[in-house]
Amino acid sequence: MKSMSEQSTSKEVVITNPQGLHARPAHAFVTLASQFESQIEVIKSDESVNGKSILSILTLGASQGTKLQIRASGIDAAEAVIALTELVEQGFDEVETEAS
C-alpha cells in the first residue's frame, strides 16, 4: 500500500449481528466505504481484502463474533474508519424484525 504514508489509520471491530457479514450488511459496508476517497482494507487474521469490493468481503466469511480490522489510507482515512466502525458496531442498522 504505497499511499499509506499519506494518512493511514485502522481500528479493530467485532461483528455483532447474528448472521454475520452476509450480503445485506456487506452491501451496506461497501456502499459506505465507496463514499470515501481512501483505500479501504478489511483484514481478517492475515487475510486482507478490498473494502469496496462486496465479493471480496463475502469471501471473508465473517460470522458473528469475528474480529476484523478496518484500515483506511488516504485523505479521508480517519473519517472513513470512524464511519465504518460505527456501522459495524451498530449491527449494520439491521432491523431485528425484518420479516414484518
Binding site: 454475520g20 452476509h22 469490493s53 425484518e98
Partner: protein, 593 residues
Amino acid sequence: MKTLYGIPVSPNVAIGEALIIDNERFRIPQRFVVHDAVEDELDRLNAALAAVSSEIAGNRDLISDRIGPQYGAIFAAHLQMLSDPQLLDELRGHIINQQYSPEYAVSLTLRRYAKVIQDLGDGYLAERADDLFDLERSLLANLLGRRREELSHLAAPVIVLAHDLTPSETASLSKRFVLGFATEVGGAGGHTAIVAKGLEIPAVVGLGRFLLEVSGGDMLIVDGEQGVVIVRPDEETLVRYREVVARRKDDVRILSTLRDLPAETLDKQTVRIYANIEFPSEVTVCRERGADGVGLYRTEFLYLSSDDEPSEETHYSAYNDVVTAMDGKPVVFRTLDLGADKLGRVPAAAQEEKNPFLGLRSIRLSLRHVTLFRVQLSAILRASSGGNVKVMFPMVTTLDEIRRAKMVLSDAMEDLEEKGIDFDRNIEVGMMVEVPAAVMMLDRFLPEVDFVSIGTNDLVQYALAVDRTNQEVSDLYQETDPAVLRLLKMTIDAAHEHGKMVSLCGQMSGNAHHTALLLGMGLRDFSVPPASILEVKRVLRSVNLSDCESIVARAFEMESAREVDQFLRSETKRLIRDHRKSSPIEKTVGGRG
C-alpha cells in the same frame, strides 16, 4: 407422461420432438477470442453488465414496492456485485491479458468467488454462492442471447421450449421447422402470443418452471387450444391427439369452402373482414382466406429484426410487397408501436422507465424522434402509389398528438413532392383507439381523422389497469369486462355519428365467440388474425342482426366478464347449431334473410 398447464395462445395441436433453448446450462461457445476482437469483446461485456444491472434494478424496485424495501435490499447487493471494482478488474484482465471470451471470463471468475464462499462452511453465507450462480446465468444469458443460433439454424421440425422468447426470436421462427412452442413465462396478450397466432404456430405460454422436466428430443404434444403440454405422452394419448390433428385438417377443409362466400349476415348485412398481419409473408394466407384487405399491418418487425435503424428503402420494399400482393385491397399501416425499452438503439428516455406501458412508446416515441418517424412515413407514402394504402397512428392520447403526427405526415408529403416521387395525395389517415382518454374525447378526434380502429389489447389493459404479461394479475385482463364493452360501444356509436369508418383490430375481434356481440354493437369492419377469418365469417353468416342486438342488450345487463363470456359462448353455439339445423349445407344458405 407428464401434463403441464399453461395459457393457450394459438390454436391447433403440434406433436413432435422437443428442442430446448436452454437458459440454464449454457454451452460456452469458445474460450478464447482473437487479439483484434478484444475491444469488441470488452464492449460486449459492458453491455451485458449494463443490461443485467438494469434487469436487477427493475426487480429491486418491483420487490421493494410489493413487499418492502428490506426485501429489495438483496437485489441492491446483487447490483453492487456487478459493479464490484475487483470483479470488473478481473474480468477485463482475463479478456485483455488472456484473451478469454467474456462468457468464459464471467463463468470462471464468478464460479471462483462462488466456490470460495461455498467452502466457508457457513450455511447462511453459502447460500450467497447461489446468488453468484444466478448472476453468472443472467450474464451468460445476455452474452449468449444474441447467439441462440439453434433457432435460425433448424434443419428438422421440432417443438421449441424456452423460458421466454423475445419478440424478434418469435418473429424469426420458421413455420417449416417449428411445429409449436411452449414457454415458461408470458401471457395471452403478449407479443410472443400475438406473433404465434399470426404465424399459426400452436403455442402455450406461462407454463411456469418446467424446462428441467424435459430433455431435448423428448416426444411432446403442445395443445394450443387447451393450453396443455404433454411430455412423453403414452401411446393412448398420442393416438387421441393424432386424431385431433386429423380432425383439425378436416375442419380447415370445411372452413375453406367458406372462402368465396360473401361475408354477410342472414339478413344480408355485409361485413368486411380484414386481416391483421406482422410479416409481408402473411399476405399469402390473407389472400387464401379471402381477406377484404389488411386492417392492421404491424410494422414493428423491421425494427426488431435488425440491430440498425431500418432505412427508408428497407421499409419501402417490405411495404410495397404487401401493397402489391393485396392488389388494390386496402392495407392499413400502423406506424411504429413499440416502447423505448424494446428499441435499445434509439436514444430513448434519459432514465430507465419504471413503467414502459405508460412511458415513451408508440406515437410518443415517434414524435420524439421525428427524423426517424419521417423515414417510416415516407416509405408508407411511397408504397401508397402502388395500391390502396392507409396510415394509422397508435396510442394517440391527446389531440395535440394526432395533429402533430399529421403535420409530420404533411412534411413527408412535401418532401416527396419536391423530389417528384409519386404517392397518394388523398391517403386516408386514421388513429388507433386504445387509450380510454381517446374514447372519452372521440367526438373531438373524429373530425381530425378518416377512420379509427379500436385496439382492444391495449384498451383493455389501460381501462382495467392490468399488465397483461404479469401472471399475477393477468386473470383480470378480460376483453369482455363490462367496462370494456361500454368503451367499445361508445367508440362505435361516436364514429357512426360522425360518419367515420370504425374497425376493431384487437385480438378480441378474432374470437368467434365475440362476433355476434360486436355485430350487435354496430361493428361492420373486423380486422382479425388471418387464421380467424373463416371462423368469424362462419359465425356471422349464421346470425341475424336482430339476434345480435338482443345479445348486446343482454350482455350489457351483466356485471362480470365471466358472466358475459359464458353467455356469449352458449349463444354462439346455439346460433350456429340452429343455423346448421335449418340448412345443413353451408353452400345453400344465405337466402333466408
